[in-house]
Symmetry: C2
Subunit: 345 residues, 2 copies
Amino acid sequence: MSGARSSRPTQADIARLAGVSQPTVSLVLGGNKAGMTLSEATRRKVLKAAESLGYVPDPIARRLSRRQNNLLGLYTFTATFPTDVQHSYYPFLVGVEEESAVQGYDLLLFTSSSSTESGTNEVLNRVRLADGCLFLGRHVPEAAMSRFLDDGYPVVYIGRHDELGERLPYVGADYVSASGAVVRRLAEAGHRHLLYLREHDDAPASVDREAGVVAAATDAGVRAEVVRTDGGDVDTGRLRAWLDAGVTAIVAEETDTDIAVSAVECAARSAGLRCPDDFSLALLGDRVGRSPGLPALSGFAIPRREMGRAAVRILTGLVAGDESVPVRQVLPCPPLVGETVGPPP
Amino acid sequence: MSGARSSRPTQADIARLAGVSQPTVSLVLGGNKAGMTLSEATRRKVLKAAESLGYVPDPIARRLSRRQNNLLGLYTFTATFPTDVQHSYYPFLVGVEEESAVQGYDLLLFTSSSSTESGTNEVLNRVRLADGCLFLGRHVPEAAMSRFLDDGYPVVYIGRHDELGERLPYVGADYVSASGAVVRRLAEAGHRHLLYLREHDDAPASVDREAGVVAAATDAGVRAEVVRTDGGDVDTGRLRAWLDAGVTAIVAEETDTDIAVSAVECAARSAGLRCPDDFSLALLGDRVGRSPGLPALSGFAIPRREMGRAAVRILTGLVAGDESVPVRQVLPCPPLVGETVGPPP
DNA sequence: CTGAAAGCGCTTACAG
DNA sequence: CTGAAAGCGCTTACAG
């Protein structure tokens, strides 16, 4: 640990060996971007000395003085690679990583914060190590985000968020349109009474989907019943009751764990009911990577990878002070046809 | 970019506000590990000022002076989340992330390097930002690694590597034993003539597997033919020729892309041959996450997640100067039974 | 056209 | 028990 730095040659060592000043070494080795005039002899001496000592610049020192890092943060508020929801986070990461590489930034994953009791300060503390930071999560810690925005520290959310008015930059998915399209497809298949299962809390991801469902249902003259659930209260009896009451299609919000749709599938299996024969089932989203053995659900694709890429582009734009980047973007979600939607029984 | 850092309060600002010296602020805020005695009044004044200014320590500056920043690097020599091999990298990442969180380190993904022409210097340059670095890849860039080791910079490879003698710390998988076990299972099923397909290059991952195969085959009195291939030259004709020559089982090295085993499966399908009816097929590894629709191959599991965790433990041990951690570990690979091995036809 | 000064924000010896 | 100095390794104004 001690040996790590102490044995490395510094610009000062080179300067001594070459008989010039340390700043001159910096100028020569830094490619002389300021356009200063160096004598060719000085250049050569310095380069030779650097070569012979095996000089490698210290990125930390460089960053401290240059005030920029080429580091982009990614903060997820839960483990970055949670085992149970890993597949829904992964595509975001792929996009983030790709575009970071393109833009010449490395990626800083804030993981240690999730293990400790991570209050607002904890967040603020570590995040600033990066030149700017991406955030991923259903909800926004408003105090921390406000602070970032006030300080002019560049942040971008993955997912639409208006908790802070119009201030917070984000890349969202157009859940409203995509959810509406799902309902329209059900209406076109002949359904007139559907059930919409959603989370209890009012994250924008839930609000947007419900808005899309309700608007499209109204528009198509379809009755849409909204039920809030955490999945635990969906069982065979309840499913049968819904169907007996005239429900012919169930639409479920997509979440990290897809707990609602799983509960429905499970209840249907126990009851010997099948989709789309006995009722139609649609997911407001996709079930990426978690489908081995499970039927392909009708729904829509969330462009996670592209969202990740777009978020990085916004963030690097902000870091570079580029005013021309649109900082609030919503990406379209292509429909997924699947095999769980058919005409009403 | 300008607003980001310049508007942030520093210890100097706090000192001014509290009417003390900047180093005193550092002492108070740093938790006073040196055990110096501070007057309670000073403490309170400083903490109050820090609070009111919303102070956040600059990790870069801290790293420069303290020579440590609670950052662990991960360098992959290709895109960190390459699309085609993503599933084989992902479990490593999960393990690395988990254990980093446990140990209180954040994770730095070196991505930008992969896009540019990443020479030795590039690696050396960026990596040192972290307190230590993990590396993932078939081969070792010897010059760069040598340099790290010489400098006492903590590095750990994921995967066994002896290219640098006994110097390089690593966490490997016991491919020798696991490969031997696969051959033994084939021998017990009655096979007496098998073909072993491996990569052209001599990465340790290939060398170990071949050693295990050859030793176990010799031991069991089984003939094992070694064929080096990149998959491109495996077609229906060649597969038939092998089987006609008496081969009853094919064993393929597992790689990022599993190109060899895929070629065999494809050739078999075209030829109307089935496993294990017409011949047995085994993989020296697993096919994590890429198996939707494909048959479960017999082989062994690579404990990627645990390897990631173990690598982090070694690395944090090195960073902390803990001499007691074994720096070269090989983890066992549990057998996977699968459905592609049976008795010879 | 060059070289010495100041500064980035912090920590850790080292004097009072 | 406290406060001012020196230093981490670099970059960027600013004098000669």
